[in-house]
Symmetry: C2
Subunit: 354 residues, 2 copies
């Protein structure tokens, strides 16, 4: 059975009528859930959790069991792709990801190849297959990857960065070399996402976490252009069903016109975007996903409901909206508040679809 019993997400991404606005939450399988922390402890490390399909499947399903969410997203990390390219990913407690072998020289970049997903990233595809089976047709499963630009920032900087000085030096002083890196990454990500679709992913999201640190011309040339290539390379239908693609550039609201013309089905918006203005700008060309500030979940239930109401009102009547936070949920969020949010979205959105 290919059509999930709850197909609100897929319908909203196609801008078809729905009975209520679908909702899922970035990082919904994560540290704010005690059942996640228990599995994470059992795994021993974050990477072990990512690379053990049974455990990754288990945490993928946890939030869907706890809340009436309209989608699951496979539990993984965007940096599995550069890890499969040989960079040696590890996590330093409290400091985030690090690569043992950052990529900086011509030789480093020319040595990179496109990983074979079914061998080098098989653990992710197995997690997709297990999660899809575990969902048993209840809600759709989202697959994902990092954007080429975002992956490149980690690969060149060697980890997280505040000012992106190393990769920007490359961008402004050796643009042709950076283009070579982005080219191989675009091919790797397209191949990887294609494999996730074949393994059962029913929608795709590309996380461009760091596209927003670029000036507008550089964003189009070094980030969006490569996401466009990925969108064009993916099958628009698989097994008789359209596979929608969501592009999420954090801090990218200024580029919505260009994003809407990229061939994607939807744009994710962070909480700094004006959702009403965004809808007016895309003018029905694509769907929109977002965009409540995750910090609203620190507030009392009635304030959370007011925050949800504000986002729904900003989007207005009709389909084409997927409710989400504007960023991943904070690890110290009270799980009870998430229940308030999910219920509020379904309850308060119904009138907009009457």
């Amino acid at each position: 059975m290919n059509r999930p019993a709850n197909d609100r997400l897929l319908r909203a991404l196609r801008r078809e009528p729905v009975d209520a606005t679908p909702v899922w939450i970035m990082r919904q399988a994560g540290r704010y859930l005690p059942e996640y922390r228990a599995v994470r402890e059992r795994a021993g490390s974050f990477l072990k959790l990512c690379t053990t399909p049974e455990l990754a499947c288990e945490v993928t399903l946890q939030p869907v069991r706890r809340y009436p969410l309209d989608a699951a997203i496979v539990f993984s990390d965007i940096l599995t792709v550069p890890d499969a390219m040989g960079l040696g990913l590890h996590f330093v407690e409290g400091e985030g990801p690090r690569f043992a072998r950052p990529v900086r020289t011509d030789a480093d970049i020319d040595a990179l190849g496109v990983p074979d997903p079914e061998t080098e990233l098989r653990y992710v595809l197995d997690a997709v297959r297990l999660a899809r089976a575990g969902l048993a047709g209840s809600v759709p499963l989202i697959g994902f990857a990092g954007s080429p630009w975002t992956l490149a920032t980690y690969m060149v900087e060697g980890g997280s960065s505040r000012d992106f000085a190393v990769i920007k030096r490359l961008l402004f002083d050796r643009p042709e070399l950076l283009h070579r890196l982005l080219d191989v990454l675009a091919r790797a990500v397209a191949s990887y996402l294609h494999a996730q679709i074949a393994a059962g992913a029913q929608a795709i999201m590309v996380f461009d976490t760091w596209g927003g640190v670029l000036d507008p011309a550089s964003y189009r040339a070094f980030s969006l252009a490569y996401m466009e290539r990925i969108v064009a390379a993916l099958p628009r239908e698989y097994d008789g069903h359209r596979i929608p693609v969501i592009l999420f550039t954090k801090g990218g609201a200024q580029h919505l016109d260009a994003i809407a013309a990229s061939g994607c089905d939807a744009a994710g918006l962070d909480w700094t975007a004006d959702l009403a203005a965004a809808r007016a700008r895309v003018g029905g060309r694509i769907a929109l996903q977002g965009n409540l500030d995750p910090a609203v979940l620190y507030a009392a239930p009635e304030r959370i409901r007011a925050g949800v109401a504000g986002v729904l009102e900003a989007y207005g009547a009709g389909s084409g909206h997927v409710f989400n936070l504007g960023h991943g949920i904070h690890a110290d969020t009270d799980p009870e508040r998430v229940a308030v949010l999910v219920d509020a979205v379904h309850e308060l959105s119904a009138p907009y679809h009457a």
Copy 2:
């Protein structure tokens, strides 16, 4: 003598004709200059440098001696104001500013008072007076302060932050308490800037470094509203001359319409903003300042000139533009490249003012 010999900056901020686009650089008095590092070493600490008027004056004048810049900005730090309010500012090497006594409770906030600039911040005003005398009417001197919202983030978080979880919890759960903090900060900043003008500052810039982390409604209510109060509280003329005010919200390009209506004379733009679109949006109501990515200074001279040309072309013909970087200059910038940039601005902008 109140009118500087080089009054390009003041004319551009008033949108009056100029012979070339004026240029200054955020953090132009800073670590990238060897002569700055020598004085900083002599001072013993960053805070000692800030609080010793003769040394602060010396580093204020250094970049103006080295480059044909069109303005000086007094060397100081935005956190001197909360320090004067009793929070105990110190700097942890490699980690940035910290407050010994962060502000979080009703009692903490109610205990805050407006410092008397001529006593508690006299060292800044003395630096302004010395720098103004040292410039000897060559170029105008800019005074500055942090925005109330930006100062509040440091005061509540206790230092720098990545996700602003503590202050956003306050914003969403106790908005009235945050408004009380912002109210006293707006009064403190207005009083401080007024004193800088009386001491000789000929233009004012308000740094809203963290306004861009807010959703649009919160930005207007918790950041812009308090900057508007400051603009309204400042004398628009002093000693017969108009004192222009520049508001700089990093990541604030989406809010330009509201900023243009705030009463300010100019908006600073970071490098992610589309300068041509920004000019079209403000439609001559205010001047614009910015916005080259500081990382362009890592590139070869011909690429720096191309970057400058791109910004000048984006703004187009006519006055109302102050060239600047979109963010503070990086500490590892080669000073020779800064000379390339300043010369390129003057040379390449002349045709736009013919």
